[in-house]
Symmetry: C2
Subunit: 237 residues, 2 copies
């Protein structure tokens, strides 16, 4: 399917690296397209496959979360998934599989370091799209990718320093608007027991999205982020 | 799996109505859960299945669009999909299959007419989730649902009165924020040929998201909506 036999060999190496044992069903032209940046061609590039792959990623993540943490709330599902599907996580996956080696793009684009993360995240999603469309099923994806999603979601949940909702909110605002939420946190003096409490408000685009109260600044901000995150996700989950 | 044999019979009727010939693989408890509103139980309800079903819907839509309109831009894919996955469309599907008949909820909830659309859209997504999780694949979904998505996307594309990007933008702002975008449209007098042109700006949450120019007010607003829609989708597609 691909004219250049060297390219097909390269892509076979990548597919083996992903851990796919049976490579007969891979559509090599689609996989090649998944690794073709828009700087090469305005029409023959990874964008459509990325569109499909984004949906593949979301479903694979939802399935792993449902099967692994059946007793968790949907809010927790949404919080973990928003980290799983964030560019930051996708770049980690892409780097693990050394996707950059296989991505064809103009030299001037490759020099543009600031776009590296989104290129790699896009290409990684496009690979998922190409593998899905190779069989019109999850057959070539779940065997290697579900364990990775499961491991990553365990990592996210177990991380003692994880600021779940703050991270999730930030991933959402950056993903959609390339802007950070703003926290305004104040001390509330408590005459009853000498301990101070904190109240935090989180603002985004001039709108207050949530308020939290806690014994530490961190706890108050987490509370505010949680309220905000649940608010913005109440219709989209 | 379900204790009440009458309920299982009812659900079998629904599954046949969907057009599924082979019902042996359906997980009836999951399907029952998909049709249990949160007013019945805070934990045993359709919310988790809806979370999975939302992702099923997005992937099924992406696949249909990819297979049907391969030469279209990703922006057009995103515009059509945002209508396909909107509550308005989901309620049409739900009504076609008379989902309301099968949805178990508190009487006080059922009386709350204003929540009807979101209940039905949620339950419809949850049914997709339950069918997906019955086999951990699209096997019980694609045979009946892909043709429906294809028919609906053809309808959306062929509708001569369709205001594609305006609808898509509105579906997005309402879905995420329950607010409408605001269009500010003015006449530009054109001394050269006596014809007036129009310039339209679309605003959302105090931010200008797009500008369009056209020979009619409608055309100018469509242009503004298109710019806005592509802007908000550039990272999320």
């Amino acid at each position: 399917m691909i004219k250049d036999p060297r390219r097909e060999k390269e892509l076979q190496k990548l597919v083996k690296r992903l851990g796919l044992l049976d490579t007969k069903k891979v559509n090599w032209s689609l996989l090649n397209l998944a690794l073709t940046h828009p700087s090469i061609s305005q029409t023959e590039n990874y964008q459509q496959l990325e569109f499909v792959g984004d949906a593949v990623l979301r479903l694979a993540s939802a399935e792993v979360l449902y099967n692994t943490y059946k007793t968790e709330s949907v809010g927790e599902f949404a919080a973990i998934r928003s980290i799983l599907v964030s560019d930051r996580t996708l770049v980690q996956f892409a780097d693990y599989y050394e996707i950059e080696e296989y991505l064809i793009m103009k030299e001037s684009t490759a020099k543009h370091k600031i776009g590296r993360n989104s290129r790699l995240a896009d290409a990684f999603e496009a690979i998922l799209g190409a593998l899905y469309l190779s069989t019109n099923s999850m057959e070539l994806i779940k065997p290697w990718f579900a364990p990775i999603l499961k491991k990553k979601s365990t990592e996210i949940r177990q991380d003692p320093t994880r600021h779940n909702y703050k991270d999730a909110l930030q991933a959402w605002t950056q993903g959609n608007y390339k802007e950070l939420p703003i926290y305004q946190t104040q001390t509330i003096s408590n005459s009853q027991d000498d301990h101070n409490s904190f109240i935090s408000e989180v603002w985004f685009q001039k709108k207050k999205l949530g308020t939290g109260i806690g014994k530490t600044k961190k706890e108050a901000e987490q509370g505010a982020a949680k309220e905000a995150f649940l608010l913005i996700n109440q219709d989209s989950i």
